[in-house]
């Protein structure tokens, strides 16, 4: 009974090459994640979507920017489809060089949150809080847009981070 595999030498080399290439890609990804701090969201906190926008103890009952220390901010942003597909607040303004941590949740359906030309790009789910931190190094306006289908107004749902000198 045969248990050995016959593998053509060209094909064997190709398989070795493929494996090495994939390992190198994995290494590059790891460097970006653990060396350069380009990470994906982690579980932050859970909330009740029915009360998150109204409960006075919830930061999202009064969404907006909070200065933690000079140049460091927390931005609490609420996404909702009802009544008219928008983020609250629609705009935030920060001076250039600011480090802003975004805490985003939804009061109704699933949404997305992508700040153009940055690595902030994540899902926004009712019941969960999505968190990533971005440092704004350029004086310009970055739109943030909804990237998950959230009903007929999905395409008009956006806001902006205005970075001032």
């Amino acid at each position: 009974m045969n248990t050995k595999m016959h593998v053509d030498s060209y094909e064997r080399n190709w398989m070795i090459f493929s494996a090495v290439m994939l390992v190198l890609f994995a290494a590059a990804v790891s460097v970006a994640a653990f060396g350069l701090g380009i990470q994906v969201p982690a579980p932050e906190q859970r909330v009740d979507p029915k009360t998150v926008a109204t409960d006075p103890n919830s930061p999202w009952s009064n969404p907006g920017l909070r200065e933690v220390s000079p140049g460091v901010y927390d931005a609490y942003i609420l996404a909702h489809a009802i009544p008219n597909w928008e983020y609250l607040p629609k705009e935030i303004t920060v001076p250039v060089g600011s480090k802003v941590t975004f805490y985003v949740t939804s009061a109704d359906v699933q949404h997305g949150f992508k700040i153009q030309d940055t690595n902030a790009n994540f899902m926004v789910l009712p019941g969960q809080v999505s968190k990533l931190t971005i440092t704004f190094k350029e004086v310009r306006t970055h739109n943030f847009i909804c990237t998950e289908y959230c009903g007929s107004g999905h395409g008009i749902m956006y806001g902006a981070v205005i970075v001032t000198p």
């Binding site: 050995k4 994995a26 994906v40 579980p43 979507p49 359906v109 007929s152 107004g153 395409g155």
Partner: protein, 549 residues
């Protein structure tokens, strides 16, 4: 040597799969170009108001019919053909397979009614708490259950064959088909649990709310292996049929082909979290582990690339092909089945590249839910898979009906038009995504579209128009073939390539099922268990339903 022949009843049964599949493709593909036209600023949806209420209802029809119905019906028909023809024996229990088929048909009708009534405009991912009519969820369940039942019919047939042929190697096309059907049984558990424990009772009013994070996790348990369920039937054809058609080539490595299928079985389910890299409620540790396993499942696709290209090269050399690349020209490009599958394969290379980028953990931050994603899957499922299935149908329909293929030259043209249209469409979608354009948005109307996107949006429309022409041409060829008065003189030959090395010489562990199945299940438990356990333990059914379309 005379080939094994299917009975008329078996041909009819497989043909009914093909009929439902092509009808779904016909209706679903009407709406694809409408999305593309909208991007270019030619919005036809206002004129469709009496029938189709919105862009998103159209997008739901397109996604459900093309990605779920066309694929599933074609695949179940093709797998059934491969098992019967490959094992050279009839189905063990044809009634069971018929029951499965009809369950799928009832499911499609049940899901189609609310979709057409604008009661299920939730797209083909149906993420809660968007809440569709219960008949939509019930319909999807019946499609899945029907495909399970058909799968059981195939497994019983294999078991009967194995009893009769204790020491033979499973013929490759049957082997690959059984692995595909088995993979589907394992991975669909996710969506079955999602619908049966959450969405269906919720849509019926039995429970108040759902947990959207848990629902997404169940969904993507099925959602990524779904891709391999689409892809593996095309791989079966590329490995074992296309080399024969392209110039009487042989399969370069039967052994590695089998090994690749086993790796797909083991690895294609335990990596679904790579669709959830940017979900808030999933641990980055498990996301990272799933990303490494995703790199792992890229490996058998690299093996497939080698074996398939080498088998084609064998065909090209046999036809007198020379040089490093010139042999490609000697392949049988005038056969529409060959042209369609070769072109599908070429674009699939690029689909694989985009897929690897999506799968690369944090690299996904650049691409997640941008237009890059539909750009990517129109190269994979809508070309690598769909154009290959179209190519297969160019010999399968004549085989099943005994009718001659109507105007083969037009069929060749159809494949090329698809190829050109898809290059234009998909390239512009990829670029738009890299520029930051979101997916699932009527970009012709979105208020934040910068001027630099406009030329690309126009190209999306042009690509869509070309694809529309190709789709119409395909349907015309199929319809005219079915109505063709000219019949084939002899039975259509089923193209099956021999292996270069006798499969009987391949190691026996490549023909053992149990270790691979246990391995697949164990890996699922190890890399999905902790995350699912955590989400279920903390399950919060706090999201009521919304109808915001």
């Amino acid at each position: 040597m005379k080939q094994y022949q299917l009975s008329t009843g078996e041909k009819k049964f497989i043909g009914s799969h093909l009929l439902v599949a092509i009808l779904a493709l016909a209706v679903g593909s009407l709406f694809g170009p409408l999305q593309a036209f909208e991007h270019a600023g030619w919005d036809f949806y206002p004129y469709l108001k009496p029938f189709i209420k919105s862009y998103y209802q159209g997008l739901t029809v397109h996604g459900v019919l093309n990605a779920l119905v066309w694929t599933t019906f074609f695949i179940m028909g093709f797998l059934t053909f491969n098992v019967i023809f490959g094992l050279k024996r009839p189905l063990k229990n044809p009634t069971l397979n018929k029951v499965g088929f009809w369950l799928m048909v009832v499911g499609v009708v049940s899901a189609a009614i609310p979709i057409l009534a604008n009661e299920a405009t939730v797209l083909f991912t149906f993420y809660p708490p968007l809440k569709a009519n219960w008949a939509f969820y019930l319909g999807l369940t019946l499609v899945v259950v029907g495909s399970w039942v058909e799968g059981w019919g195939l497994f019983m047939t294999y078991a009967a064959w194995r009893k009769e042929n204790a020491n033979e190697r499973t013929p490759f096309i049957a082997f690959g088909s059984l692995v595909t059907a088995l993979l589907w049984q394992i991975c669909t558990l996710g969506v079955a649990v999602e619908i049966l424990t959450m969405l269906l009772p919720w849509s019926l009013g039995l429970i108040e709310g759902v947990d959207p994070q848990l629902a997404r996790t169940y969904f993507w348990f099925t959602g990524h292996p779904l891709v391999y369920f689409w892809l593996l039937p095309a791989y079966i054809s590329w490995y074992a049929m296309l080399p024969k058609q392209a110039g009487n080539g042989k399969m370069f490595s039967d052994t590695l082909a089998r090994l690749a299928f086993w790796i797909f079985l083991v690895l294609s389910t335990p990596l679904g979290l790579h669709h959830q890299y940017v979900d808030p409620g999933v641990s980055p540790v498990w996301k990272f582990i799933h990303s490494m396993l995703t790199f792992g499942v890229f490996f058998p696709s690299m093996m497939t690339a080698f074996t398939v290209v080498a088998s084609l090269e064998h065909a090209g050399r046999k036809q007198g092909g020379r040089g490093a690349l010139a042999w490609i020209g000697k392949l049988n490009w005038s056969d529409p089945s060959v042209a369609a599958q070769l072109l599908a394969g070429i674009l699939f290379f690029f689909g694989g590249i985009g897929g690897l980028a999506n799968a690369s953990y944090n690299v996904n931050l650049v691409l997640h839910n941008t237009a890059f994603i539909p750009g990517h899957f129109h190269l994979t499922v809508a070309t690598g898979v769909t154009l290959s299935f179209i190519g297969i149908s160019y010999w399968l329909l004549p085989y099943l009906t005994g009718k001659k293929l109507w105007k083969p030259k037009w069929a060749v043209a159809q494949a090329w038009i698809w190829f050109v249209g898809m290059i234009i469409f998909s390239n512009s979608m990829h670029v738009l995504g890299l520029l930051g354009a979101p997916r699932r948005v009527p970009l012709g109307l979105a208020p934040y579209v910068p001027a630099e996107w406009n030329s690309r949006l126009f190209q999306v429309g042009v690509g869509g128009a070309i694809l529309f022409v190709s789709g119409l041409l395909y349907l015309t060829v199929m319809l005219m073939t079915a109505l063709n008065k000219e019949t084939v003189k002899e039975e259509v030959e089923v193209p099956v390539a021999e292996a270069m090395q006798d499969p009987a010489l391949s190691p026996v562990w490549l023909d053992r099922w149990a270790p691979w199945i246990y391995g697949a299940l164990a890996l699922v438990v190890i890399v999905y268990g902790p995350q699912l356990f955590d989400l279920i333990k903390n399950m919060a059914l706090t999201s009521p339903g919304f109808r915001v379309w």
